[in-house]
């Protein structure tokens, strides 16, 4: 019956690092696809249960940084940002290197990766390429979240937390019959002041609802339905100007905001026949969001960007396994398909300062002054871009696990096809005059429309061997491949239109510059998938209350997707397959949880360098990859003190990452920085009251760096935070 309860999930023994594992039963539930128990997977695994999530204040994905060794999700921008770095891979734009699954449902859009984790019972992370079973965008790993289920039998919980910046987090979880309901609300006034507006620039209000229904009344069948709705409205983009070795406060004059509505409806069917177990997982995913950004991040009216999208997607996965788990050969065969349509409206509006500095200065620098000078009379010059982007994927996969007692051999292969098409319809309109020849303005429309498409076929193999040396010690070796999908650069279209507009104006005037305004064309906006081969050796040890894991890897990354600024006077940026890199690294996790004491160490070292990368101007071969921390470290310790029938829980942690380079040249670096956290909770009866703090050291590190039209900007760490809260079991 137990297997019926778990839909496409496995009953496994947690291999590592439940720092509060004394609260948990021996058998835990993950939402992974593997055919073997978690401890028998030949990959580096981090498995974090609800108590650990709670004691570490992990309510959003970026809080997992460093707790999962090598994982770095800097907290900046807005909740659409979700930049993920893992094992030297990752980029600030477009597709992620980590796949996210919630209750076995793949989340297709990175813009919804960042959400409040109320009702998340377990976070399990497989590190390294997992392409054979998980397909696209899992070349760095897969994060699988398990949510509260009706079968958990937990009592209703109400939680409430309040902290500085008027930060409120309120949540409730209920189980009623076959239904598990979770809701959470979060508000904060924000942590950074926009000095231009004299107001916080990063307030947040978000509401999340999740309803899970499960029915396993039939002996061989279990069905479930999961509906998640997230709605949020926030500010963001707290970027300060860096000039003369001084970081200035955030100060921008245009709107910086992000609004999001995300609906994910998933349906799962598990049928256990006499010989074959069948799992069907299907989902519908809707995302409507609207991002507005002052793209120059200054108090001048230069230019703004809006990205408003409405996307819908459907996924379907079928998996077949042998019904009998107690066999040597455990095959798994399946198929996966999805179709996604995204309607994106992304206008860039040049304002007066931008028209003067970015457009006219650039244009007139090409035109001899004795001939004349171009003027544009518009107060604003919009470059409207509409995109209709279709993406589709279909894959067949097979993985065979041979359980030979002390040896477990796994071999798998995935045939994965992905196609995409982008229709673009862009238009710039302006009123120009060429002085002194022209005596009045002339209106000019510059349309730019067309379509580009791509098709890619991938073969993604995996081969691994795991050896159970003793009851306590396991060794494994893995060779696996993963890939990150290709796509289309939409952000570069404003740059294309900007240069096309200037060339069209010149053509309209009958003036031909020897040095034309250069930009890429739409045909160059498509970028290819990125591939990673992973060679990994690892070991796991579990003895009594002590557990440890270590892995060493070598990754060869090809067709590396990098964010570059195109040639010319660019205001846009684009993803391109510019390089090849390699990562060498070591990851370790240690846990020791004797009785009331608990401790945890996660550490990683990664050396990720370009093997070849020439951006047209400079050769970066041999340089460190930017944004990738050389070390991540998390130290945690806690103690539960019994006082009569009550408990005093004290947990403290140190969390750090670095050093890393902010750009390919290494001219800007971030040192290794540690932040301290603490949680003190008093549990009496059904009540828990706690105080917790983040960044108690007040570490003033930086989380993001970029350049915009020649200026440098940094995002800073959030300041020290103190919160008080309560959890009530009704």
């Amino acid at each position: 019956m137990t297997t019926l309860v778990l839909i496409s999930v496995l009953a496994t023994v947690s291999p590592l690092c439940d720092t509060l594992s004394q609260y948990l039963p021996d058998v835990t539930v993950t939402a992974l696809k593997e055919s073997v128990a978690l401890e028998s997977i030949a990959s580096a695994v981090s498995d974090i249960s609800y108590p650990t999530l709670k004691s570490n204040g992990i309510y959003r994905p970026n809080s997992l940084s460093s707790i999962v060794p090598g994982l770095h999700i800097p907290d900046y921008g807005a909740s659409m940002t979700s930049t993920i770095y893992l094992r030297g891979m990752g980029s600030r734009m477009e597709n992620p290197v980590m796949g996210l699954y919630i209750d076995g449902i793949p989340i297709l859009d990175k813009n919804v990766y960042d959400f409040d984790w109320e009702g998340i019972n377990r976070a399990t992370m497989l590190r390294g390429p997992q392409g054979t079973l998980y397909g696209r965008n899992s070349m760095g790993g897969v994060l699988s979240l398990s949510t509260l289920s009706p079968t958990d039998g937990a009592r209703p919980v109400i939680s409430l937390e309040y902290g500085n910046a008027n930060t409120v987090r309120a949540g409730a979880s209920f189980i009623i019959g076959n239904n598990a309901l979770t809701t959470t609300y979060r508000h904060t006034d924000g942590f950074f002041i926009n000095t231009y507006k004299n107001a916080q620039c990063d307030p947040y209000d978000g509401l999340a609802l999740r309803w899970k229904w499960q029915n396993h009344s039939h002996e061989n069948t279990c069905i479930s339905n999961i509906l998640s709705v997230n709605v949020s409205e926030e500010g963001g983009f707290a970027y300060g100007l860096w000039q003369n070795d001084t970081l200035y406060p955030v100060s921008y004059n245009d709107e910086g905001s992000y609004r999001r509505l995300s609906v994910i409806e998933g349906f799962k069917l598990h049928y256990c026949g006499q010989t074959i177990k069948t799992d069907i997982v299907t989902s519908l995913q809707l995302l409507s969001d609207d991002m507005r950004m002052d793209q120059d991040y200054t108090d001048r009216s230069v230019f703004t960007l809006q990205q408003k999208q409405l996307s819908g997607a459907g996924t379907l996965e079928l998996t077949f396994r042998r019904a009998d788990d107690n066999v040597i050969w455990k095959p798994q065969t399946g198929s996966f398909s999805f179709y996604k349509r995204n309607s994106l409206y992304a206008p860039v509006v040049f304002k007066r300062d931008g028209i003067e500095t970015l457009i006219l200065n650039n244009a007139n620098s090409h035109i001899p002054a004795e001939i004349g000078q171009l003027t544009i009379s518009d107060v604003t010059m919009p470059i409207n871009s509409d995109f209709l982007i279709d993406t589709w994927n279909t894959a067949l996969f097979h993985e065979s696990v041979f359980d030979l007692g002390r040896w477990i051999i796994t071999a798998g292969l995935r045939l994965d096809y992905e196609g995409g098409n982008m229709d673009y319809n862009c238009m710039a309109r302006l009123h120009y005059r060429f002085e002194p020849v022209m005596t009045q303005d002339k209106e000019l429309d510059v349309p730019y429309l067309g379509a580009v498409s791509h098709h890619h076929l991938e073969l993604i193999p995996k081969l691994s061997a795991l050896f159970k040396a003793t009851d306590a010690v396991t060794l494994y070796a893995t060779v696996s491949k993963g890939y990150r999908s290709g796509g289309f650069n939409t952000q570069i279209f404003s740059d294309i239109l900007q240069n096309l507009t200037m060339n069209t104006v010149m053509q309209d005037l009958g003036v031909y510059l020897d040095k034309q305004f250069v930009s890429v064309s739409a045909d160059n906006t498509e970028y290819d998938p990125e591939y990673a081969w992973n060679l990994e050796l690892g070991t796991r040890l579990r003895k009594g209350t002590f557990s440890a894991g270590a892995s060493a890897y070598y990754m060869d990354v090809r067709n590396q997707q990098l964010t570059v600024f195109p040639p010319g006077m660019s205001t846009g940026r684009m993803m391109t397959n510019a390089g090849r890199s390699r990562s060498i690294g070591v990851e370790t996790e240690l846990c020791w949880n004797p009785e009331q004491f608990r401790s945890h160490i996660s550490w990683s070292w990664c050396d990720a360098r370009f093997v070849s990368y020439y951006d047209g101007n400079l050769d970066y071969s041999g340089n460190l990859l930017p944004y990738v921390p050389k070390h991540t470290l998390n130290l945690g310790a806690g103690y539960s003190l019994r006082i009569n029938n009550n408990t005093l829980d004290i947990d403290a942690s140190l969390n750090g990452a670095g050093p890393f380079n902010w750009d390919e040249t290494g001219s800007r670096q971030e040192p290794f920085r540690l932040k301290a956290g603490c949680r003190i909770a008093f549990v009496f009866g059904d009540w828990e009251i706690y105080v917790r703090g983040d960044n108690l050291t007040g570490t003033q590190g930086r989380t993001f760096y970029f350049k915009s039209v020649g200026n440098e900007f940094f995002a800073s760490c959030k300041p020290r935070m103190i919160m008080i809260g309560t959890n009530i079991n009704l």
Partner: protein, 152 residues
């Protein structure tokens, strides 16, 4: 009756004659109307004379073919000039000849860069269309310039 027949024959003869005349006139007019030429532009700049090949010139005559405009595409008046320009010379007087036309004008302000460009006022324009050849010479401001091109 005979008189009427003579009158009709006379009218028919006149009409036929007109038709023949129109056909004779039509041919040079259609040649004069819109023709693109490709040829060499020679500019005698202060730094010395220089030729630019494959310069396109459009000859556009009016309906009556008594005047025309000439558009010179992508021309430079100095080898070091970082831009090339489309220049339109309007108001050229056209006198048809048996095999083409004689072109002339003086003190005409050309059109360039979206408007009139008096710095390059055209002086002493003299040219000829002969069969499929267009030749002309002029001063753009104080810069002597000449062109010889063939119909495309």
């Amino acid at each position: 009756m005979k008189k009427s027949i003579y009158i009709m024959l006379a009218i028919a003869a006149v009409l036929a004659g007109c038709d023949k005349l129109e056909k004779e006139n039509e041919e040079p007019v259609s040649v004069l109307k819109s023709t693109d030429y490709s040829g060499t532009l020679t500019v005698n700049a202060s730094s010395g004379a220089f030729d630019t090949d494959s310069i396109k010139v459009s000859f556009n005559a009016t309906e009556r073919a008594d005047s025309a405009s000439i558009i010179l595409y992508k021309v430079k008046f100095s080898p070091r000039m970082p831009v090339s320009l489309d220049v339109t010379i309007p108001g050229i007087v056209v006198k048809k000849t048996e095999k083409g036309a004689i072109l002339s004008c003086d003190s005409i302000v050309p059109l360039a860069m979206g408007g009139e460009y008096p710095n390059y006022t055209v002086k002493g324009f003299q040219g000829e269309i002969m069969d499929d050849l267009l030749t002309f010479s002029l001063n753009f401001g104080s810069t002597p310039t000449s062109y010889q091109g063939k119909a495309q």
